[in-house]
Point group: C2
Chain length 293, copies 2
């Protein structure tokens, strides 16, 4: 009972890129797509990321073997709630959201019971600072890590849903990803540090520069690669990050606070030997580990 | 009286890259090089960034039309002091240091008087997170901005030194740079924001992650482009940045403090509409200006 029909709800950057990647790697079934913004779905269809646009997303989900939820975290939470009563125990829901704990809480009653659909939370560590189907790329996941965070209740998943979960893991590898399994809480903490903190630092730095030097041409011309990289994520859309800020608040807040403290420490030690220790630790993070990011 | 003989004191990444770039653009005179570390000078010679290694840097400087000072800021300050009594009024000293106010203070009595050599402070906005002649690149300056910050006393420069300064500006353009003139104080403030602040933020973030997750393989594997970019400068050498921290302390400190405040503001507003304002300002910095960095 292989996956022959996939519904992608949310055909933005990630949803559409998954569709394109699946096609490139030989998925020959149907991919039905839907997006709150009809233009996104139309672009996804034009790019052949989906084979057909769903007239009604609920019907499309009910008729699919696997339902992939894209879009911001709040929209994933909403779909989990809406779809549960419409799906059967042999169907699998998965997602590409950046926060996982909140999703497992939502799924706890509604999924992964013998008579309920399965839910396998997933999170590809790939993206761009610009969203939308028009930026989709079938090679986006080549070499990336795709995290899976089985929910605490995932043992209750039906055998048919489990088979689909295993097959979905195979597809994720086929589109170029290395799979890493984490528990949802550890996922949210690690992602706060390696993904959410960099985003909010880049946003704060970009906002600060815009505030302080709104029309300074010199500042803009002399900024080199360092500034470009440190502010690239300043272009990221609020709509996506609001949901992450709301659903991973504690971990994000802790990482921001730690960085504030660290910057203050560095500032107070610009002229002391402590500065050397900071550079040595930083050098070790970048150079001292064979798995350096 | 064109520039026929150039001395490069400090043949690391930037010094050697300048030598290679000059050659590529048709400079046919002699480039004599010297470095505190003989291996750097040997590499520069092998790369043909210099034509000959100086036996004695003071003699080499005394015999050159133009002396380019590379290396960390403190070493430039020291050369300015040591060379002044050895040079004639028709000779020009220039540099590639990242801080300018301290250099002009040092040069005030010693340069730019009718009987003293000329000094034109310069700063190419190009570099890498790894130093050394072995990383030199004759194309490093293509498309970069080269800042010049004439000292307050530069009107006192001899006519011959001024001619060399004009010729040096032409060479800087030939190797691919757009020239921007700033006064030294404004230079140090702008560079604190667009170059020094990004460096210290990247160092602090890298050091914090190394401290908190010293052997966490998962953290290292899931970090994607965002983490890679935000911590790239964590690899930068302390030796270079110590001098910048010491000579641009006030501006760097002010920019760090402002960012700490901004991060705290963002942290306190993860769940309020203020977060939208931060993203909108950040978006404007990255997307709203045709000269976006």
């Amino acid at each position: 009972m292989p996956i022959e029909r996939i519904a992608i709800l949310g055909t933005g950057l990630i949803g559409s890129s998954v569709g394109m990647a699946l096609r490139q790697q030989g998925f020959t079934g149907t991919i039905v797509g839907w997006d709150r913004d009809p233009a996104q779905a139309a672009t996804a269809l034009r790019l052949e990321a989906i084979t057909v646009i769903a007239e009604d997303p609920h019907t499309a989900a009910a008729q699919s073997d696997l339902i992939l939820l894209g879009g911001p975290v709040f929209s994933i939470l909403e779909w989990l709630e809406q779809l549960a009563p419409l799906l059967k125990a042999n169907q699998l829901v998965t997602d590409v959201g950046s926060v996982k704990n909140a999703l497992c809480s939502q799924a706890n009653r509604l999924y992964n019971h013998p008579d309920k659909p399965g839910f396998l939370p997933g999170h590809p560590m790939a993206g761009k600072e610009v969203g939308g189907a028009s930026n989709a790329d079938g090679d986006l996941f080549q070499g990336a890590v795709w995290l899976f965070t089985e929910c605490p209740n995932s043992n209750g998943m039906s055998a048919e849903a489990r088979t689909k979960a295993d097959e979905w893991r195979t597809w994720v590898q086929k589109i170029g990803c290395r799979i890493l399994d984490l528990d949802p809480e550890r996922h949210d903490v690690l992602c706060a540090w390696v993904s959410h903190l960099p985003q909010f630092v880049s946003t704060a730095l970009s906002a600060l520069l815009e505030d302080k030097f709104p029309d300074d041409e010199a500042l803009r011309s002399i900024g080199g690669r360092a500034l470009r990289e440190m502010t690239r994520l300043g272009a990221s859309p609020y709509s996506m990050w609001r949901d992450i800020a709301h659903t991973n608040t504690e971990a994000v807040s802790a990482s921001l606070f730690a960085l504030e403290q660290r910057l203050a420490h560095l500032r107070e030690n610009l002229k002391t030997p402590e500065l050397r220790d900071e550079f040595e630790l930083a050098n070790r993070f970048r150079l001292g580990n064979p798995h350096k990011p």
